[in-house]
């Protein structure tokens, strides 16, 4: 456990001490930023040409021919490139530099190595998506009404948030790690309990959120994005365990990732009720987002695909480490 945690921390920190992490972040924010810009212009357009599902423009293209459709194709074409940048260094770098020998002779099991590396790149991927939460208030047309409703519960919520913030600042400034973590934990618990009681018991709320557009598609979109990302990352990790050069790892993971993207281009050839389309749908991630996740639907078929491919690739990665020993 300690070994896994230690490796996880190193791998995650390595993203922030090397230029690669920032390159991935930059590319990704430019990509989503352009999508957001497009969604914004469609949302503010006059007349019947607007947009029904803003999350769809952000993530999946559109049914109607136009800039949103093109942008969707581009976004998913570049998506495996971004996840490839994240995963390419994980094992290929260690193989190239020879440090894999140090890692594999430490008292840590192969599957722990694979798990720690995957968890680190996955955590970085989630961090990559965090800034995009800033788009949501606009995409969902959120309004917040503030009321000075100071009841015991709401005060508990505010105090809890305050303590958690204090702990966070202490942690960043390098104070006593344990104390700061405890403060954050207690603050979060107090805020959670206070917030729950406040929302269920008090008549007048501190803040009332109303969204002009259905908010649940945003939730399902993020669930989809997290799981689909896990699949692409696991593919990249497996490829990275096979080669010594990071560049080759990146290109191969892009290629493998496109296997789950390009079939979506075939949808124009098939009727959406046909058997062929069922196959196309099963393998093409953009279609999952265009049809389901961004419209607030969670279909079990893509979820099964993501989870099985992820687990299978992690299994193969662990086996490829074993195969290195047997060489």
């Amino acid at each position: 456990m300690r070994a896994t945690a230690s490796l996880f921390r190193r791998e995650l920190a390595a993203y922030f001490t090397s230029p690669i992490g920032y390159v991935a972040m930059f590319a990704f924010l430019v990509l989503t930023g352009l999508q957001f810009n497009l969604a914004l212009s469609l949302l503010t357009e006059r007349g019947p040409l607007g947009v029904e599902y803003p999350m769809q423009v952000l993530l999946g293209g559109s049914e109607i021919a136009g800039p949103a459709q093109t942008a969707g194709v581009l976004f998913w074409g570049l998506f495996p490139a971004v996840t490839g940048i994240i995963t390419m260094r994980l094992l290929a770098e260690e193989r190239g530099a020879g440090t894999l020998e140090m890692l594999l002779t430490a008292p840590i099991r192969d599957w722990q190595v694979v798990f720690a590396k995957f968890a680190a790149c996955f955590a970085f991927y989630v961090i990559l998506w965090l800034p995009t939460l800033a788009y949501l208030p606009i995409l969902l047309d959120l309004h917040a009404d503030w009321h000075p409703a100071f009841t015991p519960f709401s005060i508990m919520l505010i105090a809890g948030l305050g303590f958690a913030l204090l702990g966070l600042i202490a942690l960043v400034l390098g104070g006593n790690g344990w104390f700061a973590t405890l403060l954050i934990l207690l603050g979060a618990i107090a805020a959670g309990v206070g917030g729950y009681l406040h929302s269920t018991n008090d008549a007048e709320k501190l803040v009332e959120l109303t969204s002009g557009i259905d908010p649940y598609p945003a939730l399902t979109s993020y669930i989809g994005v997290i799981l689909a990302g896990a699949m692409f990352l696991a593919l990249g990790l497996f490829v990275s365990s096979l080669v010594k050069s990071q560049l080759v790892a990146w290109m191969l993971s892009l290629l493998l990732g496109l296997l789950f993207v390009l079939p979506s281009l075939l949808r124009w050839w098939f009727d959406s009720g046909s058997t062929e389309y069922q196959w196309v749908y099963f393998l093409s991630v953009p279609e999952h987002f265009r049809r389901d996740f961004t419209r607030g639907i969670i279909d079990s078929r893509p979820l099964v695909l993501y989870v099985t491919v992820t687990l299978f690739c992690l299994f193969l990665t662990a086996r490829s480490l074993v195969a290195r020993r047997l060489r």
Binding site: R2, M102, T105, R325
Partner: protein, 240 residues
């Protein structure tokens, strides 16, 4: 401490190590000699758990390196040839990470890192990124890492390769001191080093053990020749 029985390793069709058997007792310092490509590194990698033997058995302190790899690796401090390290980490960060990997608690890590930094003379570069260090310092960081979990067995693959004479001398001194506390097995090309630091030698040639015994016993067996003459004779390079 180290027991190897009938170890064989094939790379495809090519047998790099053929039926090697030897024992190293507790507290001994053993020099592992052989020309390039004789199977030194392969044997060491098998012991360290990086490679798996094709047939045969190797145990460290009674723990089989194949069946009980984690426990066996806990008992080994391994320093590979050319000593690869993460160039973008600082020395103390690296040791902190390795300490965690080896399962040391936070307080134990703090204490052990302080000890090995002093012991291996790397305290003055503790905040430097490893990529900026000279070869000699890197080698010492590798040694510090091997010592980190205070393992009973040290396996060092050419610890003095690529160092300048002063550094070789310092490293040799360090190895001598370490030999008092640890069972140690080091491979090298420098024969005088073996004579100065080791209790016994194992000479390997074309994947087979050709000589094994304490320094004096080996010399006696070969009519008190110098180690260099013995080495050259056994590895079949007399003509050169």
């Amino acid at each position: 401490m180290i027991a190897v029985e009938h170890l064989t390793k094939y790379y495809g069709e090519y047998p790099a190590v053929r039926d090697v058997s030897f024992r190293v007792d507790k507290g001994q310092v053993v020099g592992f000699l052989g020309p390039n490509g004789a199977g030194k590194s392969t044997t060491m990698r098998i012991l360290a758990g990086y490679l798996t033997a094709s047939t045969g058995k190797a145990t460290i302190d009674g723990k089989d390196v194949f069946w009980d790899p984690i426990e066996a690796r806990r008992r080994i401090g391994y320093m590979p040839e050319s000593c690869p390290l993460y160039a973008d980490m600082r020395v103390d960060e690296y040791l902190w990470f390795r300490g965690g990997l080896k399962g040391l608690s936070r307080s134990a890590r703090k204490q052990r890192i302080g000890y090995v930094l002093e012991r291996c003379w790397v305290n003055d570069v503790r905040r430097q990124p490893i990529g900026t260090l000279s070869k000699g310092y890197r080698q010492r960081v590798g040694l510090a890492d091997a010592l980190l979990a205070d393992p009973p067995v040290l396996i060092l693959d050419e610890p003095t390769a690529g160092l300048d004479p002063t550094q070789i001398r310092e490293t040799r001194l360090l190895l001598r001191e370490l030999g008092r506390q640890h069972t140690m097995r080091l491979s090298t090309h420098i024969l005088s080093e073996v004579e100065m630091t080791c209790d016994s030698v194992i000479i390997i040639y074309q994947g087979k053990v050709v000589e094994d015994g304490s320094l004096t016993a080996v010399r006696q067996r070969h009519n008190n020749q110098s180690l260099e003459d013995i080495f050259v004779r056994l590895t079949g390079q007399e003509g050169i």
